[in-house]
Structure formats: C-alpha cells, structure tokens
Symmetry: none
Subunit: 219 residues, 4 copies
DNA sequence: AATGAATGAGGTTTCATTCAT
DNA sequence: GATGAATGAAACCTCATTCAT
C-alpha cells in the first residue's frame, strides 16, 4: 500500500503507453483511421477508454504518435546507414553502388519486420494530406532520405562511377518507389506485387542506367 | 401540360449526374472522403441533399462512382495508346522505346489535365484498402497497365532492343512510380516533387538501364 | 384526339382509384402502414407517385379510404342480415338462435373472402388508437354490430329463449371475439388459430350458456 | 478517487435501465411506436439520447425489451396461478370452475394495474406482425395460456364437471377474449367497453355453456 | 492512475409531398 | 389527367471526449 516511487510510476507509464500504441497499431491497420473507434483500441489494449486519454490527448494525437514512432525508426535507420559509413575504421571508402544497395536493403527490411506496417502507412498518407503536423514529419523523413540519396549520386558522379543526371529530381526516386510499392502491395497483396522484389530489381536497373551515357530517348 | 418525354428525362438525369460528380470531385479533393459532408456536395452541386440520393445510393456509392470514372478514363487512355499502334497504316512498327515514352507521356498528361485529381487518388487508395469493389477496380486498372508494359518489354527484349530482365516484377514499375510520384506531389507539393519530371527522368534512366548488360552485383 | 367525355373521364377515375386501392391493400398488408412507401404503392398500381395524389390527398387519406371500404362492406353485411329479416315475406319470424348463427357466418365469411384482410385490420387498430377519424369509423361499425346483437339478445330474452343476462356488456362479445381471433390468426398463423373455427365454437358455447340458468360461478 | 466498484456500476445500470424502460412505456403508450422519437424518451427519462444507446441497441430493441417485460410478467402470473395449485397443502383439489375464474381474475388484474398497458399492447401486435422475435415471444405466451386452459378444460371434462367440447379450438378463447377486449377498450375507451366486465361476464356465460349438453344446431 | 457512465453535436439517410412540364 | 425530378425536414444513431468516483 506504500505509494509507488517515481521510477515505478514512470516505468508503468512507459509500458502502458507502449501497450496502447501497439493496440492502436493493430486496430488502425485492420480498420483504418476513421473506422477505428477509441473503444476498440481500449479493448485491445486491455484498458478503459478513459485511460487512453491519460496517455494521449486525442485520437489524432494517438495516431500521430504512432506514425511518428515508425518515422523515427526509419529515419534512424537511414542515418545509421551513413553513420557507420563515416567511421574511419573502414579501411576503404564504400562505393556509391554499395551505398545504393544498402538503402534498398534497408527499405526492404521494413517490410519484413512488420506485416501490418503497410496499411497504416497508406492511412498516414491520406491523413498527411490534411494535417500540417503529419505533413511536416513526412517532409522531414523525405528530406533525410533525399539528402542521403543526393549525396550518393553526387559522390558517384564526382568519382566518375555515374554519368551526370538531374540529381534533384531523381533524388526522390527511392521514396517514390518505396511508397508506390508499399501501396500496391497493400491493396493488391504481396502475391501480386512483392515490394521487396520491386525495390531490388528497380534499384538494379536504375543503377545500370547510371552507368551508360543516355541512349537519348526523346522523352 | 404533357409530361416530359423519356429523352428529356434522360438528358436531365445525365446532366444532373455529371454535375453532382463534379461537385463531389471538388469537395472530396478539398476535404477528403471522411471530412466531406453530403450537404457540402449538395450545396456545391446546387441541389438538395435528397436529390443526391436520387442519383447515388449512398456516400460510398458516390465516391466509388467518381473513382470509377477516372479509372475508366485512365484505362481508356492506355488502351487507346495501343489501339492506334495496331493500325496497319503505320508503315513501320513503333519501337519499344517509343511505346515506353508514350506511356510516360500519358501518365504525365493526367496530372496536367486535373489539378484536383491527385488528392482524390490518395483517398481512393486508402479506401481501396477496405473496399472489395474499389480493390477490384484498382486491380483491373493495374493489370491493364501491367499488361501493356509486359508487352513492351517482351517486344523490346525479343527485338534485341533491351537486355533480358525480370519482366514480371518490373512490369509493376510504371504503376509504382506513377502512384509514388502522385503521393509525394500531393503531400509535399509540386514545388518539392514534380511528378511529371520524376516520371520522365525515371523512365529515361530505366530505359538506359535496359540497354546495357548489368554491371551491378545482385543487390 | 377528341377530348374524352365526362363519363369516360369519370369511368377512368373510378377504375384508377380502385386500382390504387387494390395496390395499397396489397402493400399495406405485406409491409404495414409505416413501412409502406408511397412509391411502393405507385409501382404496384402501375402509376407514378404524382398520380396517387390526384386520387388521394395523402398517405393517411389513402389508408383511411381503404379501411373505410371494408368497414362499409362489413356494415352493409350486418345490415343486410337484418334487412332481409324484416321483409314480411318470411312466413315465420327467424329465431334468435338463427340470427346469432347468421352473424357468426357473416364474420367467418370475411376471412375466407380475403386472405390479406386480417393484417390490414391489425394495422388499422393501431392506427385508430391515434386517429379520431379512424376511431369514429371504428365506433360506428362497432355500434352497428352491437346494436344488432343487443336486439337479438333482447328478443331472445323477451321470447324466453334466453335467460336474462347483462346485455349491454355482452353485446360487445361478437366484436371482441371477431377481433381477437383475427389478431391471433394474423400473428400466429391460421394453423395455430383458425379464426372461423374459434368464432363458430365460441358462438355455440355461448349459445348453450344462454339456455341455462347460471350455475353461479363466484366470479 | 478510486473507481466505482462493480456492484456500484451494476446498480447504476439496473436503475437507469428501468428508468428508461418506464419512460419508453409512457411515451410509446401516448404516441405509438412510430410516432415516438428517441429524443422524447430520452427527455422523459432525464438522460441524453446517447445514453439510451448504452442500454438498448436500437429503438426496436428498446421496444422489444419493453414488450418482453410485460410478457414475462404475464407468463409468471399464469404459471404462478398453477404453481400454488400444486402445493399439496390444499386439502382438496380446486375445482375446474375455480381455476377458470382465477384465470379471468388474473387477466382483469392486469388492466387495473397499469392504465397505459393496453395501448402498448396494440402497438406490440402490429409490431409482432412483422418481427419474428416479437412473434416468437407472443407465441410462447399464447402457448402458456393455452396450455393452462387446456388442462383446466380436460380436467373439468374428465371429472364430469364439463361436457365434452373441442378443447383444442376453445383453448384459444381466453387469449382471444383478453386481446379483443383490450383492443376495444383501447380504441373506444373503457366507458364504451369495460374489458374487465366483458371478460368476467363472458367467462360466466361460457362456464354455463360448459355445463349443459349442446341444445344448438351445428352453427 | 484508472474507470466507465454519460454526453451531445452532427452525420447520413429516408420519404411524403410538390410542381413544372 | 399524368409524370417523376426535386425538395427538405427530421429521425436514428455514432462516437470522441469528459468527469465524478
């Protein structure tokens, strides 16, 4: 009956918060944002509806927190990729080709980690269309990825590995392909479109395209 | 004195139906599916709420009809591309490269035609995640596009224009890039990501990639 | 193209009116008053909704007209029973027993005539609970029936056929049994409760009861 | 500070549920099922509309619950009548006449208990015409009453108290008269038809009829 | 911190009725 | 007389959020 210590309280809060986020993730993935009721989340999380509001100010808040969670993860993944790279322990500089390949693998890894991630992402996009907060987070993630890709491309071009191209425009490509493949896989199923494979094969083809002087299609 | 003729009634219904669809398009684009009120659509269309239900059974029905409208248009565009091609008047066969280019241009054209199309597409995707009807229409559209691309690639490979690749997987690429670029442009704005440019430059790069034997590793 | 004569017009109106009433009868029986839509009736009658309003001022008006139709029929039946009786051609006065029996047969006849009558009656009762017009018609019909029965009973008592009873109270019995049997047959089906049989057997038993001095139940 | 205990919550729910049912009873009786608005019930019950839906899934559900409540009461009354009878303390068996009388008194008691019961019953009948659930409950109640009456009649016949009659058909009589009298009293008012009196006098007459060999013809 | 009964604004949908043709 | 497109009032119901316990 002795009051809980501060640390105990915080641990409880952290655990409970995570449980709620997990429950929300599951239900949002199944039902989508608008068809999810707070009571559903509460039930799956095993808490009362009131409790949800001790941890998140609103349904939107909860959804955003969830989306930010994986955005953080993704961002950390990308940054990690290059942080390692900068460590001087690597005897030799990694080639641009290797870096491109590494980015692809990172994206592919996300799909293997969590089967329910893709549907929530699609919801997030629709949500981001109307929510400045979501847009900002999305933009930051995009810019991180874009920045990395720009660096890779420019390095490759500088070193003569790649031919010269419109770096600014093409820097969006990884994100474009990642999201496009996620979308198609979510709606049509992975039997129809395997996002990992699409990303991998595309990256390979694009890489090959970077090696040759343009054949000069008119488009 | 005498009642309206059948033709008069049909004309009225066709016109009114189109007016409602246009209004719905506008409001759905602005607000998204869930934040759109039937009263908003009615007001923009200049009719009463009741009238909406003379033309569409429900809000979902209206939204689907709208999405089917542009899906039909897009599908017609793709099929038209190849129908022309089959006309025997062309003394020489169009090259695979030209066909690829034509597909890109078609996709790009859609964005120029209708500024408000993109946001509704994103809504449609989220919607398609839960609605079998929407999924089916989406799948049909995808397969049409995929089929065309498969043909182009196989023709190109057969004629020796292209190297041999995983046609099945890469046939999803146009749709992946189209949707991915649409998404990014919708959320981040065309200043950040110009979908037409992304499509064009990507197509070019991919095309170049198709010309050379792969220099890359397996990744 | 010559304009129709007044008689033709009236004939058309009468026919059309009857068609609408028949359609209404059918739909009201199937669906009940509140679940019947004017459009249903219009469709079954083979006319437009607007036309209904050329013949009846409102849905309530149409329903009442329908109910009044059979009320008139029933009332005519009862009155007819006694009109015949008063004709001097009958060499001998009909006995009270015979009259009672005749009333029973009349009631039973209604059930055989029209299978769909019973459900509409139940609707009418619920309706009559709130509508003064319906109540009044119902009361008039009741009083006609009651009046006839009072006469029969009083004649029978006067002639010594029947013992003395509370005529006022028991004069409601035919209506009570008729309606009660109608109700049960409508809800439970004629397999469970055969209204004709119930009426017949009850009448018989009651008649027997009228013959003997009360055994003096305490109730 | 601490949340309410389970018992507290249950007590609240039980009380509130009863309050809502009472309010519904009152409003349904006044206005009928279809003209009753959920907002009316909410107002009379002193709760918000939303609260109604915490206790009943729909307007139909609420109405059915209400009807089931009195059906349960009525059924308990009938069963109670015979349960007492089976107690071995009674030195002598109750006569069939006494049992018939008891049943009449029970029916009459219902009308005295609750002035507003009758109109709701009429609504329930109309409702039962279209609702399988209501039909089933109605049938069960009917069968209970019928079963009791069959027993009474057969016992009476076996003991020689009553003459032999069509027990199956006449076993519906109490229900027929009860419902018929309820209906007439509801529509015409108790001044015109006193249901208690009708039931009592009818029972008496029928009882007398059971004593004598039929003098009547087949009608 | 946790609970869950209660709220109430507001959305979609229905349908009797009107009226221009 | 006949039509059927159009109306618009209002009903049922949902669900995020609050707050007394």
């Amino acid at each position: 009956m002795s009051p809980r210590t501060k640390e105990q309280n915080e641990r409880i809060r952290r655990t409970r918060r995570r449980e709620i986020l997990d429950a929300a993730h599951q239900v949002f993935a199944e039902r989508g944002f608008h068809d999810t009721r707070m009571s559903d989340i509460a039930q799956v999380a095993g808490v009362s509806q009131g409790t949800l509001y001790h941890y998140f100010a609103s349904k939107d808040d909860l959804f955003l927190a969830l989306c930010f969670t994986w955005a953080d993860l993704m961002e950390a993944g990308i940054k990690g990729l290059f942080a390692e790279d900068e460590s001087p322990s690597a005897s030799e500089k990694t080639s641009a080709a290797d870096k491109m390949s590494a980015m692809s693998h990172l994206a592919m890894a996300f799909f293997r980690t969590d089967e329910e991630l893709a549907p929530v992402l699609v919801e997030f996009w629709a949500y981001a269309l109307r929510s400045p907060k979501a847009t900002e987070r999305f933009r930051a993630l995009f810019e991180t990825m874009q920045h990395s890709y720009v660096t890779i491309l420019e390095d490759g071009i500088a070193s003569g590995e790649f031919k010269s191209i419109d770096v600014q425009t093409l820097s969006a490509l990884p994100f474009v392909v990642l999201d496009g493949a996620t979308l198609l896989a979510s709606i049509l199923g992975r039997d129809t479109v395997d996002p990992g494979l699409v990303i991998e094969k595309t990256q390979q083809l694009v890489f090959d395209g970077l090696l040759v002087e343009s054949g000069g299609g008119e488009s």
